[in-house]
Symmetry: C2
Subunit: 173 residues, 2 copies
């Protein structure tokens, strides 16, 4: 598929709702268990979604489309949620994610007023020039990446419990 | 985590809702594209969920817990949706999945009236004796497996569109 603004928005709009239906009111064991040392729990992943809404997507979009001649992306701390989530329940984080995502989509729609804006470029610190179209595609795939991570982390909690089936279930490998 | 009936039901109950929020009203390209020859689209995966509700889980549970001395699992055609889904829209399949899953959970709750039922065993055609506890754990992980598949298939549609980011996004590899 080629990038298409409406088809991308269909995904970006629903991700917070998917997270909510997937995780709301689950037993804490599903929420706080992870895949081992230095891995993220579903709770951590939702915190990562929140911090990315705050400090990653819109600042990068503005670096590309803003008047500033400096097109370099500002730094993003992808572990920022370990500080930012402190004292927040999963429910708090989901509400925050829903609110921020809605705001950010409105902001995005105000910025992308015509197709040519999508061709504008910024400078990624590691791989150089990228277009807004590539950044927005990545926003969509980033949503899928971390939804997939939440599901994999939960699946692995039941790996042992499936007994001989574990060998046939790719998600727990 | 050890298998726990209530924690397992928390997942089994919500999977059809997760599928609905994830896929409802999406552009057809998100729904019918797959990962290449002989792979499944999100539409196919929802059909697979439906056929498994009809012919896999409850028949296997009954093979384990029924009076019949034959504890062998009946055959399950995991490609059965290619026939069963014919003429059905994605919305039809989601509604069918919701309805069947609700019925099957009620049936499961009528069967598992105490903890000892979970120790009963049946015979899997490939790896022999398995407990009801292992089968129900597998039902949960099977839900996660195919939710994860739906998300991966959608993510891959935007692999090219992300440009240089693709190399950093594990879900599209």
């Amino acid at each position: 598929m080629k990038f298409d603004m409406n088809k991308a928005l269909q995904i970006l709009e629903r991700t917070p709702q998917v997270v909510e239906v997937l995780l709301k009111d689950l037993d804490e064991e599903w929420i706080i268990n992870n895949e081992g040392a230095d891995t993220w729990s579903p709770y951590n992943v939702v915190g990562h979604f929140v911090i990315a809404e705050k400090t990653n997507w819109i600042p990068r979009i503005k670096a590309i489309t803003g008047d500033n001649s400096n097109k370099k992306f500002p730094p993003f701390d992808r572990f920022g949620m370990f500080e930012d989530s402190k004292g927040k329940s999963l429910g708090d984080l989901i509400e925050e994610f829903k609110r921020l995502r809605m705001q950010n989509i409105l902001e995005l729609q105000n910025i992308v007023t015509n197709e040519s804006v999508l061709d504008q470029t910024g400078i990624h610190p590691e791989f150089g020039e990228v277009t807004l179209r590539q950044l927005l595609s990545t926003w969509v795939v980033h949503d899928f990446t971390h939804l997939s991570q939440i599901i994999r982390v939960m699946a692995k909690q039941y790996k042992e419990a499936t007994g001989p089936w574990a060998a046939y279930l790719s998600v727990v490998q």
